[in-house]
């Protein structure tokens, strides 16, 4: 009596029409987006930083949760594709007046939106939007609850590929608040899909649950074990509210055990790169000497992020439901 379910981000031909999660994306699709992003990188270096791929299209940035950085990179990406960009700070407008999520979407659809870039505090919210918007409208998940942040995952993969080329010989350590991190989940899905043989999740038991093993990662509660021999270290941002939830005693104690210092970084491979989705908390999860050090690729990540978001938007806009 079971019914089949189709991955809602793919059309009947298996093409990407929304980007909701990296989970379930074929390896070839990921590489294709990264390849496309590579071609857009040069656009960013031109004097006129625009290509006409989304000319005449309207991209709505719907941020139900505040974010300046991610919204700005999406805005830049859409504008470089020549789209019209409308930023809606929903956290302070319609929902505050009691309008439901789907009513907001219906209203904006009536304004002839072609693409929604959605950030929402609840896991799965972009799925609901994708299921209820008009067939020609595309949805990009810009972060939903703890579930997924697929463009961040893709830009992290672009960064790793840029510096390390081959995924199939790497050891990647993701350190910090994994349980609350949509970035960690998207990275894990991307890394395992791309054939990284060892992905480690590093942190205390309150932030790194054993269930993560079923996503194909090695769970390490000891920092030294977690980063020893790593090629890539992805540090996660630690939110202040973790301390009030009895998950950690203090930021200071977290830094003592899991903060990335030059001493700890020395345990990784000499050419290991250090990544962070930003914004960084200096002295909480990462020492300034590491964040600003020669192994840090945190700023290139930001640059690549624009090209990757251009690639995602142009790819899905080219496919029809």
């Amino acid at each position: 009596m079971m019914l089949p379910r189709r991955n809602p981000q793919l059309n009947a031909h298996g093409e990407l029409v929304h980007l909701l999660s990296i989970e379930g994306l074929p390896r070839a699709v990921i590489h294709q987006i990264l390849d496309t992003a590579g071609t857009f990188l040069s656009v960013n270096d031109r004097e006129v930083k625009k290509v006409p791929l989304l000319r005449g299209k309207s991209v709505f940035n719907l941020f139900f949760e505040n974010s300046t950085r991610t919204r700005t990179t999406f805005e830049i990406a859409a504008k470089r594709l020549s789209a019209d960009v409308i930023n809606l700070d929903i956290a302070r407008s319609s929902t505050a007046k009691g309008e439901s999520l789907l009513d907001t979407i219906a209203n904006l659809s009536a304004m002839h939106a072609d693409m929604f870039v959605v950030r929402h505090g609840e896991s799965g919210a972009p799925y609901l939007i994708a299921q209820h918007c008009a067939p020609h409208v595309h949805v990009v998940n810009a972060g939903d609850g703890r579930h997924a942040h697929p463009t961040q995952g893709l830009l992290d993969m672009y960064t790793i590929r840029h510096f390390k080329q081959d995924f199939t010989r790497l050891t990647v350590a993701i350190v910090g608040d994994i349980v609350h991190s949509r970035v960690a989940r998207s990275d894990i899905h991307a890394l395992t899909t791309l054939g990284v043989p060892e992905v480690r999740a590093v942190g205390p038991k309150t932030l790194v649950p054993g269930d993560l093993r079923e996503m194909g990662v090695r769970v390490c509660h000891d920092m030294a074990e977690g980063i020893r021999g790593a090629d890539v270290i992805i540090m996660l941002r630690l939110q202040n509210e973790r301390m009030s939830g009895a998950l950690l005693p203090s930021a200071g104690e977290f830094f003592k055990n899991y903060g990335l210092t030059p001493d700890k970084l020395a345990l990784a491979k000499p050419d290991a790169i250090v990544m962070h989705p930003g914004p960084i908390n200096r002295g909480v999860e990462i020492d300034s000497a590491v964040a600003d050090g020669r192994q840090s690729v945190i700023l290139p990540q930001v640059t690549f992020g624009i090209a990757v978001r251009m690639a995602v938007m142009s790819t899905i806009a080219g496919n029809t439901a």
């Binding site: 896991s123 799965g124 609901l128 579930h147």
Partner: protein, 431 residues
């Protein structure tokens, strides 16, 4: 009204009767099973060839949504749903608005239900005023007005001292307390803790939220000897604790919902809010334990956990969606589906939704205690006629309940109710 049900397959789980015969009904009672006397002249004869004639179903967990939540269900629609599902007796929860914490509210509900003349309604009174977990309700008054037990619905009593005293007080008068075992702090989550919740980024409710609450309840039962009915168990570990408590002789009974009998957390799929249920759906091994527990009698009753939810409250992100599913019209079919899969005799399958729940209610049923949920000459004529061979597709729009949300939309299920008789009158027919 005299009704003759002719040549149906009469299945009575209480006696194990399973034979093709007639049933004669007059003045609200079954007057004969087998050949009726020659002077019995029926006003209505129902041809039941090919149909099963079973006792009307007894559902221990229904939300009628009155008073206070009329946008999600009305007595009219939900009672129509009950009889369309073959349910002739139902226990309704006190989590209305206001909660059923004073006799006037209960009397009004009973009065409204009686006027509709459909299923028998047995309300659970609130255990504490406003379900706030602080002050006891007037249990004797509420019992006189028709309550069959006392419940906190989904609101756990946080204060163990209050729960201890509530059980002591209830035990004084022999009232049954209905509790859903869930730790108030560990229970804050929207999916079962486990690999799926972790992968999807949903907050998880661990199994220990259930087992810690069960252990607390069992200690309190040992101390007070209060009778407790445990509602909607969800975990293998929880069922094992109940099994041991029963073996020890503690006066406890329990139920599970049809949703948990068939589904697991994997069915959440891509954040399908129809699967947002309380307690959350757990894993395969838990579902297996629920099935085994129901089969071996550790779990007394199978319930619909009928919860009509407004469409607006379900078209929300998973965690924000209101928990619950419509169920009255699916209870029989989902029980039969389980019976088929587990290869159980029809009579044993039906016992979980007829005699066994009546056993849970016991003397609280009053005059109906000796004949509800069974087919006995001289007993109340609560009867359900269904076609066991007819498979039907669950179409939410076609359900009578105001709640259209069910995890089983589109499923093909066995067993179509053809006629429901409550106290000798035909409350539903679909021949």
């Amino acid at each position: 009204m005299k009704i003759l049900i002719r040549q149906g397959r009469v299945v009575d789980p209480a006696t194990g009767r399973d034979e093709v015969t007639d049933i004669a009904i007059a003045a609200g009672r079954i007057v004969a099973i087998g050949a009726a006397s020659a002077d019995f002249h029926a006003n209505r004869t129902l041809d039941a060839q090919g149909l099963v004639v079973a006792p009307g179903l007894v559902d221990l967990a229904v939300r009628l949504r009155e008073p206070g939540h009329e946008h999600e269900g009305m007595l009219e629609s939900e009672m129509a749903a009950a009889v369309a599902g073959g349910v002739t007796s139902l226990v309704c929860l006190p989590d209305t608005d206001p909660p059923l914490d004073e006799p006037g509210l209960v009397e009004m509900l009973k009065f409204r239900a009686r006027n509709l003349n459909q299923a028998h309604v047995y309300p659970l009174g609130a255990l504490t005023r406003g379900l706030a977990g602080e002050v006891l309700t007037e249990m004797a008054e509420l019992t006189e007005s028709g309550c069959v037990g006392f419940s906190q619905a989904e609101v756990p009593v946080k204060d163990t001292l209050v729960l201890h005293r509530a059980l002591l007080y209830a035990a004084t008068f022999g009232y049954t307390t209905w509790l859903r075992p869930q730790d108030p702090f560990l229970g804050n989550g929207v999916a079962a803790k486990g690999p799926l919740a972790t992968r999807m980024g949903l907050t998880g409710v661990p199994v220990i939220a259930e087992t810690i609450a069960l252990n607390t309840i069992f200690e309190l039962v040992r101390d007070t000897q209060a009778r407790v009915h445990l509602c909607r168990l969800s975990s293998a570990a929880g069922i094992e604790l109940v099994r041991r408590a029963k073996a020890e002789g503690l006066p406890v009974t329990c139920d599970v919902s049809v949703n948990h009998l068939h589904l697991t957390d994997v069915d959440i799929g891509y954040f399908n809010a129809a699967m947002r249920l309380v307690p959350p759906l757990r894993q395969q091994r838990d579902r297996d334990a629920i099935r085994a527990g129901l089969a071996d009698g550790t779990i007394d009753a199978l319930v619909s956990d009928h919860t009509p939810v407004d469409a607006d409250m379900k078209t929300l992100p998973f965690a924000e969606a209101e928990p619950g599913a419509t169920g009255l019209e699916l209870l029989l079919a989902l029980a039969l589906q389980w019976g088929e899969e587990a290869r159980r005799p029809l009579s044993e399958t039906l016992a979980s939704i007829t005699t066994a729940p009546v056993g849970v209610l016991g003397e609280a049923l009053g005059s109906l205690a000796s004949s509800a949920g069974r087919l006995v000459a001289g007993g109340v004529a609560d009867v359900c006629l269904f076609d066991p061979g007819e498979r039907w597709a669950v179409e939410p729009g076609a359900l009578r309940s105001q709640g259209k949300h069910t995890p089983f939309a589109g499923y093909q299920l066995p067993g179509r109710v053809k006629c429901t008789i409550v106290a000798g009158h035909i409350a539903h027919e679909a021949f």
